[in-house]
């Protein structure tokens, strides 16, 4: 009887993505339990137990990945800010060793950090909201994982772009800045990679819990509910508000010469980012 139960439980655990050492441990603990109490009915249906494991482990794993991703991105963001603050004159764009490579790196250095910041913040917001939840709906977990994955990918792309940029313009950049750029971008890739490994470990789990997806208005409720505008249920209005705020910040930071141009570029960047990633990151349905 116990053997059959354990076989069924093993198959159900495999079906929800629990394999390897974790499955062996669960089966060993269950076998030990059933030696004390052979009542498999009291233990629970194998499918129910397996789903419970997947729900609880996936929720905890996704929440931790959300927090770790943001922490790794915060380090990368600090490194990025230091490098930008330490340089006063940027090299002439045509002075690159390999111009196409340098241009790709320059564009990535501008765009990827913004994507990383937005996705990382959204991952953090959802992780915070789910921090006390033992078993979140599968769709909620899926969106949290996506946000963390996009944030880590964009954060890593930013660090790689800095390294490539420093190499491509090594002739026109101070030697100490180039060396610092290599060191900081390389060092920041380590926590980003560690967070990515942590996320990858939990991504195979297939939670079964059914429930609402939750949207950005749930994730950012403490903040958005204070805004005296009807935003809930209107994601494009939120996009417009954020794009306008970012554009105003760019206008003020850029001064008379570069401000207006930067403001338009930032507005369009936020708008197009929302259009491209909005559905994937659970910002709009």
């Amino acid at each position: 009887m116990n053997e059959r139960y354990l076989r069924e439980l093993s198959a159900e655990l495999g079906a929800v993505g629990i394999r390897g050492a974790r499955r062996r441990r669960i089966l060993a603990e269950t076998a030990d339990h059933l030696l004390e109490s052979a009542d498999t009915e009291r233990f629970g249906e194998p499918a129910v137990i397996a789903a419970r494991f997947a729900d609880e482990l996936a929720t905890g794993g996704a929440v931790r990945s959300g927090f770790r991703s943001f922490a790794a991105l915060a380090l990368a963001g600090a490194a990025y800010a230091v490098l930008f603050a330490l340089i006063s004159t940027w090299p002439d764009i045509t002075s690159a060793r390999v111009l196409p490579l340098a241009l790709v790196a320059a564009v990535a250095m501008v765009l990827a950090p913004q994507v990383a910041f937005a996705a990382g913040l959204l991952a953090l917001a959802r992780a915070w909201r789910l921090r006390s939840t033992t078993a979140a709906p599968a769709v909620e977990i899926s969106i949290l994982r996506r946000r963390a994955a996009v944030a880590l990918a964009a954060g890593s792309a930013s660090m790689v772009a800095i390294g490539v940029y420093a190499y491509a313009y090594s002739g026109g950049l101070p030697g100490w800045w180039r060396d610092l750029a290599f060191a900081l971008s390389g060092a920041c890739l380590v926590p980003l990679a560690a967070a990515a490994v942590g996320l990858a470990r939990t991504i195979g789990l297939r939670p079964q819990s059914v429930g609402p997806t939750g949207d950005v208005f749930d994730d950012l409720a403490p903040l958005l509910d204070r805004v005296p505008l009807q935003l809930r249920g209107h994601p494009w209005r939120l996009c417009l508000l954020v794009a306008a705020a970012v554009a105003v910040a760019a206008l003020l930071a850029g001064g008379v010469d570069e401000g207006p141009r930067n403001a338009v570029a930032e507005f369009l960047a936020v708008w197009s980012g929302f259009a491209v990633f909005g559905r994937f990151l659970g910002l709009r349905t």
Partner: protein, 104 residues
Amino acid sequence: MRAETLKGHLDFLLLATLADEPAHGYRIIEELKRRSAGAFDLPEGTVYPALHRLEQGGLLASSWASGSGRRRRVYRLTASGRRALGNARREWRGFTTAVEAVVT
């Protein structure tokens, strides 16, 4: 008592059960039943996912222990688990005092 009623308190109860000494899954379930005079009679298999989750969250640690020719996974509180238990106890006492004041 219905399992649904217990759901929100399961973590607190598991941490409290392990406060005095480490224990394996079956013993934890029996201890819960004994201390509650049979009121907390959970579907047994549902305790293990919670134990794994609490361990994943750093509130519990576990290791294999051998005895009587058997290997058993024994759980114990970590320092974080002990702190979480202290906080949960304070919250629970505040809550029950407030409820008592209202309903009696």
